[in-house]
């Protein structure tokens, strides 16, 4: 007979393992740059902002429309439509993704690091003051995208102040967006999508 302590330990291991596994499932990802390039190229893409109306009005991804789960339940787009979701709650994005997939939409993705990524990579890309040639080339590409969407590329930013994420070698550690970005991001959940 297995003891209570062993059962609790086993439960913790199972729930912990399932937590790691849950990161492997759920919505397919797309990146902010890939989304921006799709929009710029005129490829039809529906972007849904799952945050509150107030947060949407403050700032949102270009071409996005605010939506609730109820709105998505009534969505009447063709099932082949390309759909991108983002929000401030991973749970809500996952629910929306699952809802659309169950309804037969085949091309549903979520923005990998949500609105934060959109701001950091598309709306306000930053060039480190000690940028390498590869970083300069990448920045030129992002700056053109940024200007297309009315953004503000930032030049000669101290490396420690460059917003980090999966796209930077050092990740997000020590990174700080600009004041404007910080104000926007303050309203965004950091670990959401």
């Amino acid at each position: 007979m297995i003891g209570l302590r062993r059962m609790l330990g086993l439960a913790a291991m199972v729930l912990g393992g399932a937590a790691a596994a849950s990161e492997m499932t759920g919505p397919d990802w797309t990146t902010a740059v890939a989304l921006a390039e799709r929009i710029q190229a005129g490829q039809p893409t529906q972007v849904f902002d799952l945050r509150s109306r107030a947060a949407f009005q403050r700032f949102h991804v270009a071409s996005a429309v605010p939506a609730t789960l109820a709105d998505l339940l009534d969505l009447s787009s063709p099932r082949s439509a390309s759909i991108v979701l983002y929000g401030d709650s991973r749970a809500r994005v996952t629910q929306a993704w699952a809802l659309l997939r169950i309804r037969g939409y085949r091309h549903v993705a979520s923005l990998r690091q949500g609105l934060y990524e959109w701001i950091a990579r598309v709306y306000e890309p930053a060039l480190p003051v000690d940028a390498t040639s590869a970083e300069r080339a990448e920045f030129d590409r992002l700056a053109a995208l940024s200007r297309y969407f009315g953004g503000q590329p930032r030049l000669d930013v101290p490396r420690a102040a460059v917003p980090g994420g999966y796209w930077t070698a050092g990740g997000g550690l020590g990174s700080r967006p600009s004041v404007e970005t910080a104000l926007l991001v303050a309203a965004i959940r950091r670990r959401g999508c």
């Binding site: 330990g9 291991m13 912990g16 937590a19 709650s89 749970a91 959940r189 670990r191």
Partner: protein, 189 residues
């Protein structure tokens, strides 16, 4: 009672109930005893570690899965900002006080509630400390707000998905519980 006041009252009632349950569990775990708490510092008794780490893992797994189930929005949970220097200083002060008194604020409440005189003395010191800190806050303000690092979480620091960090902490906890159990077993033998 106004409609606007109801949520605040309900919130306070829930907080009171959770606080009461927490205190009762601490007392039942024996953490009202200064002797038991100080034993942690000498690795003579690892009950504190086991009780508090169990609480941490339970809360972590509960919060993670409630978020995943859509029942709790972790984005709405306030994560205190990190201020490296003042929090390190506060940690040292807290640790020193804990070692000296044998009780931390929570366990001091439990000890006081069960009539222990050391608990009552620590509570009195705690109240005096709060009073002194607030009276001196204008002078401490510069230190209090120094070295801000913003909101830091383990997933952010480790650049790992939250679920992976949850799994790592759960594994670490189970390994530590087993090790603590064996160490205590050897000590008793």
């Amino acid at each position: 009672m106004s409609g606007a006041a109801t949520p605040a009252v309900a919130t306070l009632a829930i907080a009171f109930a959770i606080g009461g349950a927490f205190g009762w569990l601490l007392e039942r775990a024996g953490l009202g005893s200064a002797r038991l708490l100080v034993g942690q510092f000498y690795f003579a008794n690892l009950t504190v570690f086991k009780v508090l780490f169990s609480a941490l893992v339970t809360a972590m797994l509960g919060a993670f899965w409630l978020d995943r189930a859509g029942l709790l929005d972790l984005g709405g949970v306030y994560v205190p900002e990190t201020f490296a220097a003042p929090q390190a200083l506060g940690g040292l002060l807290f640790g020193g006080g804990l070692l000296l008194a044998g009780l931390c604020p929570g366990t001091a409440c439990v000890a006081a509630a069960t009539g222990r005189s050391d608990g009552l003395a620590v509570m009195a010191g705690l109240v005096l400390g709060i009073l002194a800190f607030n009276l001196a806050f204008d002078w401490l303000d510069q230190v209090y707000a120094s070295t801000p690092l913003g909101t830091l979480t383990l997933p952010d620091l480790l650049h790992l998905p939250a679920g992976v960090v949850v799994a790592l902490v759960a594994v670490m906890a189970v390994v530590m519980f087993v090790a603590a159990g064996r160490a205590m077993g050897r000590r008793r033998a």
